[in-house]
Symmetry: C2
Subunit: 393 residues, 2 copies
């Protein structure tokens, strides 16, 4: 009795569920400390101490009905003001309350903006490898996801193929930097070129094409690398931000959209995104957490912990003969599988108690994603297994 | 550039937004204490004290990464277990963890189950007057909302019209008791008859028709009235519950779905609802609040406060000549407008600084909804205005 769309989705999602179940079975068989689960992007660094203080403080001093009550579907005005000011201070932008819509994480934000923009049949472009959920998000509104094939030399986007795939039906482009699954940060040069392609095609077709920047990893960068703020390069940019990773609050579902005034039809988009938030059933971003993130707007998780994982894993794996573009952000390594078939390679890894996700899940076969948001000890203990795995090839 | 669906929705939603803005203007002009805003269903009774204690306790003693982290998209197993046991204790049911899916409020739950069930063109029946958002929720999945006209004598559902509107395309029926906007509780007799109509039509068409019970007001009942637990009367019942009103946490977006084993294809529905939760962008119900409601599963708000409002308002308005079915639940009075046109009547009320919502918004013209979830003082101060308003007619 379930819908045809869901039948298809349930079948497809069973691969990852099977991996999760398999991991539990392995842990029971070999002991949890002898299973190296790199499959999930669940932050391993705890939320900053200020989060606890903020929760206690808000619950202890603010009015209950305000803290847990309904507000404007776009979020509390004071929270949106704090966020706008914080972005303005960091990136020299000029956003106000109206440009910020609080969302149920970045996933909620992407759904709100896609619901707002897409008519059935509209095309949304993204760059492989990409977070597999984009396909479902676009399909929720009967849009069509158009995928640009990966540039495996650098994992910067393939811009000539991108240009050739833009059509009069292209309504949006989803960009994700720092990237899941590669950890690559798009360079300023890439962003400038990408924007210029979009400008050219908008002119050619007389359309507006929105660049949707999915930014759960913006704050997770290493070696002082610069992550350009995309609204400054392309006027039709809409940002979907999440505090899931920057404050280690993924389960709390808290993030925001930025819809700049300079975007074409911004007033309509802002009004529609407010309504979409309500009718999609989010209603509003969770109220207490809105107030918490505003109070902790200058806090950050200790990314030195992720960096230590990144360095050890990258150095060790390259020494063992694995190849991979050194990630500058997020908490993923995207290694080349040691055999052509990435699914077979992930299966071989599992026989060494290593759980990694085949690149096929990100439209990039031949590679595998390692999520290094785990205990440092897990990485240390996994190294002999990675070495043995490499020696098989 | 916004989608055609959203253009239409933004236009329609502007009526309520206009009322909200109007209320602010009136408050600035006459002073907030001289404006009687009965337009919003935002609980006025604070959350029980145990909520604060639970938040402090969880934040102080539980593991940060667990409290704020990802879990199964259906929710924490211990939380779902607590909820299943609580329902079983109250209603003598036999639910387990698998039957419970934590959701972003009842609105999130309804969207998850409609996404799970509906193919384009499928029909969903509901009974006027009904919560206007149902139309958008069904439309999100290209379903068609079929409305049974109101039985204004009692506001129990019109069952003969219901029977005539069930077709082979009917996939679900949304039932809301205690009801928004009438406050009426469907009697056990109504539920038995409704179930028997559904059983007959299922047999006739060889289909499964799901009864979706939208239950944000289950706990808000007066005079010891009984609210039948619908899964006990009809096997294809799916419950969408919310803690928004029962614990005064509407902004926190926390609720759950109950999908009983005895429902046709329950395994598929449970698996698909898990996936739908993820791909609609909810990902999971907010994590801290899941743990909070489980800890406070036996807590309740002080409904004596709402009852006091109900009694004073009902007694006074009927004395002034208004007519209305005395509500047994929720926090709404649904009065007959004193002129045929409910929109004109609401406008007349506004000229007396009374803000109420025209019944047309609930597909029931000729009536108006008064949300009495306000300070008792607001009700006391509003009475002379209601009296003057009645004297005009």
């Amino acid at each position: 009795m379930i819908s045809d769309k869901m039948k298809h989705l349930v079948q497809n999602s069973s691969v990852i569920r099977a991996m999760f179940e398999e991991g539990k079975k392995l842990a029971a068989q070999y002991g949890a400390e002898n299973v190296y689960d790199f499959s999930l992007g669940n932050p391993s660094v705890p939320a900053p101490e200020e989060i606890k203080e903020a929760i206690r403080d808000i619950v202890g001093t603010e009015n209950d009905i305000l803290v847990h009550g309904y507000m404007n579907n776009s979020g509390y005005e004071d929270v949106r003001n704090t966020i706008a000011e914080s972005i303005n201070n960091k990136y020299d932008t000029k956003f106000g309350i109206n440009n910020i819509i609080m969302t149920v994480g970045a996933a909620g934000g992407l759904n709100v903006i896609l619901k707002t923009l897409l008519n059935p049949g509209d095309e949304v472009i993204t760059f492989a490898p990409y977070f597999g959920e984009y396909k479902s998000y676009v399909d929720n509104y009967d849009g069509k996801l158009v995928v640009v094939s990966p540039n495996t030399a650098t994992f910067q986007p393939n811009l000539s193929e991108f240009e050739s795939k833009i059509s009069p039906k292209t309504k949006a482009v989803i960009v994700n930097t720092p990237n899941n699954p590669t950890g690559v940060v798009y360079s300023e040069e890439t962003i400038i070129q990408l924007s210029s392609v979009l400008d050219k095609k908008q002119k050619e077709y007389g359309t507006a094409i929105y660049m949707i920047s999915d930014e759960p990893y913006r704050e997770l960068v290493y070696d002082g690398v610069n992550v350009p703020y995309l609204t400054k390069y392309y006027r039709n940019t809409i940002v979907g931000y999440s505090f899931s990773k920057s404050l280690s609050l993924p389960g709390e579902r808290i993030g925001y959209l930025v819809i700049p005034d300079e975007a074409v039809d911004s007033e309509d988009i802002i009004a529609a995104a407010n309504v979409a938030t309500r009718i999609l059933g989010f209603v509003n971003a969770p109220s207490l957490m809105q107030r918490v993130v505003a109070k902790c707007i200058n806090s950050e998780v200790d990314i030195a912990i992720y960096n230590k994982n990144r360095e050890l894993l990258y150095d060790s794996l390259t020494e063992y003969g694995y190849t991979c573009v050194k990630p500058e952000g997020a908490f993923y390594l995207f290694i080349k599988a040691l055999e052509e078939n990435d699914v077979a390679f992930a299966a071989a890894a599992k026989r060494h108690n290593i759980l990694i996700v085949p690149g096929s899940s990100f439209a990039c076969p031949g590679y595998c994603r390692i999520a290094y948001c785990v205990d440092h000890g897990t990485i240390e203990r996994s190294l002999p297994a990675f070495k043995k795995l490499a020696e098989l090839y």
